[in-house]
């Protein structure tokens, strides 16, 4: 996606904020991103807003508060990948010549507890078949069979991400945990313990995209090499498309693999070129599966990649230097853009103790129910 850059980013911390509305958080993030990009009233020609629980006209409410309306404002729901979907549309519109500058943001206040999703039919809830953590657990169970992933590996993912998150001032949990503490937390769905699951929460993130050369902000522009969204192909019973049945044929590519393959091709880059990755760690096993689906290791190699230390800060390819969703929590509509904000700051060298040295190429990955998988590649 040559010719599109990120001119500015902004973020409202992820956590629980009793006094702040979805609109308040969106305003906070949008104001910060526009300021960084040096963009004011009349400075962008369209706005895309990712949200899953925000309700009618979430984006309009944010921009009305700022006196920035008149242009098309479109709300986008694509589950955990809502922000990735918004980025794909915005970048495509700039590349196609429709707009010069587009505002992309996401804002969310998730209900507490196990996510209730309108995706499921009432009878599925009644039968106990809408238990989100159980689907994660079944996937973790399969990773144990295919990749030798043990509970110790799952705990190690949590320890790693919480260690990273301890130095991220916008994370919900900024306290390190030990493997013993992770394994002592209650079992939600075997093999997943409570600390291995991310917390649905609240937050907002914003990004200003502009045509390369048009950026007038105070920060160096970051190249958007690709922004790809893909849905699923039918077949995998544990896919995020969450079917009630699938095939015994294991060769059907996952939506993440479909998105990653297209994103690498569009960017003219591959997994070996990456300096840093933010990936979907809804649960600890999901991070390991993402290693395999994104091509960071061979199929079956995720436990080995983790054990090698490569994905820790200081390793060959740090994954989730922000602390990931396990530290930040997950506000669906803001989650993908939160990753992009972190990665833009990594590529600008602004991340302090969690900075990945000499970061040049960064990949963001989100995947959620639908299925929707978003992969974004950024370059310095």
């Amino acid at each position: 996606m040559s010719g599109v850059v990120i001119a500015g980013v902004g973020l409202h911390p992820f956590g629980r904020f009793e006094g702040a509305s979805t609109t308040d958080m969106g305003v906070h993030s949008v104001r910060a991103a526009l300021h960084e990009a040096g963009v004011g009233r009349g400075g962008f020609q369209a706005a895309f807003c990712g949200t899953a629980y925000g309700g009618v006209a979430t984006g309009h409410k944010v921009l009305s508060r700022l006196g920035l309306t008149g242009m098309p404002i479109v709300d986008i729901e694509a589950g955990c990948a809502s922000g990735g979907a918004a980025l794909q549309l915005a970048a495509g519109a700039i590349r196609g010549g429709q707009y010069d500058t587009v505002l992309v943001f996401g804002t969310e206040k998730m209900p507490k507890g196990i996510i209730r999703s309108s995706f499921f039919e009432p009878w599925q809830e009644e039968a106990g078949l809408a238990a989100t953590p159980a689907f994660f657990a079944l996937r973790a169970h399969r990773l144990a069979q295919t990749s030798g992933v043990t509970k110790a590996h799952l705990a190690q993912v949590v320890v790693k991400n919480r260690r990273h998150g301890a130095s991220n001032p916008v994370a919900m949990f900024q306290k390190e945990v030990t493997a013993e503490e992770v394994l002592a937390s209650r079992v939600v769905c075997e093999p997943l313990h409570l600390f291995m699951l991310c917390s649905p929460n609240e937050g907002a993130a914003a990004v200003v995209l502009t045509r390369a050369g048009a950026s007038a902000g105070s920060v160096p522009p970051i190249g958007l090499a690709s922004a790809v969204l893909r849905s699923h192909l039918p077949g995998a019973v544990l896919s995020e498309s969450t079917p009630l049945s699938g095939l015994t044929d294991d060769s059907v590519p996952s939506p993440t693999t479909l998105a990653a393959t297209a994103a690498y091709e569009e960017a003219g880059l591959g997994p070996d070129d990456l300096s840093v990755v933010e990936c979907q760690d809804t649960d600890a096993a999901r991070e390991l599966l993402s290693y395999e689906e994104l091509g960071l290791c061979a199929p079956g190699g995720s436990a080995e990649l983790l054990s090698s230390g490569a994905t820790e800060l200081g390793g060959r390819l740090p994954v989730n230097p922000s602390g990931g969703l396990l530290s930040k929590g997950e506000p669906l509509g803001a989650s993908a853009l939160g990753q992009v904000v972190e990665l833009a700051r990594q590529l600008r060298g602004e991340c302090g103790v969690r900075q990945v040295p000499h970061a040049r190429v960064a990949l963001s990955h989100t995947v959620g129910r639908g299925a929707n998988a978003g992969v974004v590649i950024l370059t310095r």
Binding site: G113, I114, E125, E126, G128, P234, L238, P243, L244, S245
Partner: protein
Amino acid sequence: MVREGLCRDAPEPALLGSRCLDCGAHQFPAHVTCPYCAGDHTEPADLSPTGVLWAWTAVTAAPPGYRGEVPYGMGVIELPEGIRVITRLTESDPSALRAGQAMELRVVPLHTDDDGSPVVTFAFAPTPS
């Protein structure tokens, strides 16, 4: 049954699926259009009441909209038709199950409705040896 059209509640129960006359793939629940080839030539098909265990867990806290007992088992059964099905399991202790073990279909109580009538659902149980 928690929803009509999913499972025949009879002495010999069966999951009510469909089979694509174009590509041959089976599907559960029954589909009019085949999700694998998008063909519209499908027919109803009773699925095999026996299969093998492919993945399993147990749910320890009631998810939204659920009024039955916890913990309860949940898993994936591989059927001879070449498909895998998401289902409740009668076994809620994950350590009592093993990969590839034989499982069979049952109709089991789920909860009692507001008007006092029992609601049942499909589940798979270990086949008695």
